[in-house]
């Protein structure tokens, strides 16, 4: 259970895991920090409500995903491209292999969200469906398509 007093500790403890999940969606360090920062800010504003939330970590992650989706769905690909570029010279603390990042980049956002929750954070199919507001079969579809695409992309680069 989180509280206003314990928020700082919870925030610091939750950040690294949440960051990895969001990074899988945005594929960009600065974007990840930005949307995650805003999600934690919202969590702080709603700390009383979140006190009884069964999975506040998931709440922050999904909120960050929604922030990312809301922001970028308003922008067409050109704007998104420029946004990424204008921020991209900030130092990346660490990065993925080129082939994995390329393969992930080709996936639709929803597939990356499902992979972040199901594979990286190892939430169950039901939890993932609940967090994303979609059905379990839909999670399965996104998961299968995403993993197939990744396998093809990684195989392609290895050939």
């Amino acid at each position: 259970m989180i509280s206003e007093e314990g928020f700082e500790d919870w925030y610091r403890a939750t950040w690294p895991t949440a960051y990895r999940a969001i990074r899988a969606v945005t594929l960009h360090h600065s974007d990840s920090e930005e949307v995650l920062s805003e999600a934690f800010t919202r969590a702080f504003e709603k700390v009383a409500e979140l006190a009884n939330h069964p999975a506040p970590e998931a709440w922050v992650i999904v909120t960050a995903m929604n922030i990312y989706r809301d922001r970028f769905k308003k922008l067409n690909n050109i704007k998104r491209f420029f946004f990424v570029q204008n921020d991209s010279y900030e130092m990346e603390p660490s990065s993925l292999s080129d082939d994995l990042e390329k393969a992930l980049r080709l996936l639709p956002t929803r597939q990356r969200e499902v992979i972040a929750l199901r594979v990286i954070l190892e939430y169950s199919s039901e939890e993932t469906a609940n967090f994303l507001g979609i059905s379990v079969p839909t999670v399965s579809t996104h998961l299968r398509r995403g993993l197939e695409s990744l396998r093809n992309g990684l195989d392609g680069d290895q050939s």
């Binding site: 950040w15 920062s37 990424v84 991209s88 660490s94 993925l96 992979i115 396998r151 990684l154």
Partner: protein
């Protein structure tokens, strides 16, 4: 075990790779002060959009120790006679038959010629423009010559795409004595259905690449690291259009990437 667990098991090679790589991604929570600070996401994007609308200023001068050549979105229209002269000046009388000039692209103060043939290797340049390791993807820069403006040449063989930055010494070359310059360039083969290739760079330039003989080539001034990431890479978009103006394909390109022909070329 439910079907999703079976699925994850079937794809354990992929999931284990994802898990292991993401475990290495470290990020420490920023101080709370930073958490509460919001960056102007949309404003940044909007500013970039304006840059696209404005397209290009007549002269792009980077704030660096490297001189940047003036650059124009629309290349100089060269006559066939001029192209022949450039070819002679740049390649000399001993031009081997094996070298075919496929593109001559002059934009304001600098031009490039693209050759097709055997590899040319030279120590004329400060850094190798070659990021790729695929033999068919290699492209070497060799020719530097003066024909009204300074031209640099690339030679290539095969069908490929590679984008890189190139630093030319060029001091003393050409009437403008441009000195050391740095540019980004992109080069690839395209399908015969493609009649126009539009490039959009990270720094907000939108312009048509030169396209001829099944090859397109584009270059633009490198404004140092402002448009490159921490590793010095930069991105560009290449959009391919057919004769009816339909967008055939859009490709996002990252410096250092190379794409084999089948991935890059919009097929008929």
């Amino acid at each position: 075990m439910n079907s999703q667990d079976d699925l994850l098991k079937d794809f354990s090679d992929v999931t284990s790779r994802i898990k292991s790589e993401f475990k290495t991604l470290d990020s420490v929570a920023p101080s709370r002060k930073k958490v509460l600070k919001k960056k102007p996401f949309v404003l940044v994007a909007a500013a970039a959009t304006i840059a696209v609308t404005l397209v290009v200023s007549p002269s792009l001068t980077g704030a660096s120790d490297v001189n940047q050549p003036a650059w124009a979105a629309v290349p100089t229209k060269l006559t066939e006679k001029e192209k022949e002269e450039i070819k002679k000046v740049c390649l000399g009388n001993d031009l081997p038959e094996k070298y075919e000039v496929v593109i001559v692209d002059e934009r304001s103060e600098r031009g490039f010629i693209v050759l097709k043939g055997e590899m040319l290797v030279s120590d004329e340049f400060d850094e190798s423009p070659m990021p790729g390791v695929d033999l068919d993807s290699k492209m070497y820069q060799d020719v530097v010559c003066a024909y009204k403006r300074t031209f640099s040449g690339f030679s290539t063989k095969g069908v490929f795409s590679v984008m890189s930055n190139v630093s030319t010494r060029g001091t003393g070359w050409g009437p403008d004595k441009l000195g050391k310059t740095k540019v980004w360039f992109i080069h690839s083969g395209v399908g015969s259905n493609v009649v126009r290739v539009e490039i959009q760079t990270a720094q907000g330039l939108v312009f048509d690449a030169s396209l001829a003989n099944g090859v397109f080539f584009a270059w633009w001034p490198r404004l140092e690291e402002a448009h490159a990431d921490a590793t010095g890479k930069t991105n560009a978009l290449a959009r391919f259009y057919d004769k009816d103006g339909n967008l055939v394909k859009t490709f996002s390109l990252l410096t250092g990437d190379f794409y084999k022909g089948e991935k890059m070329i919009p097929l008929n």
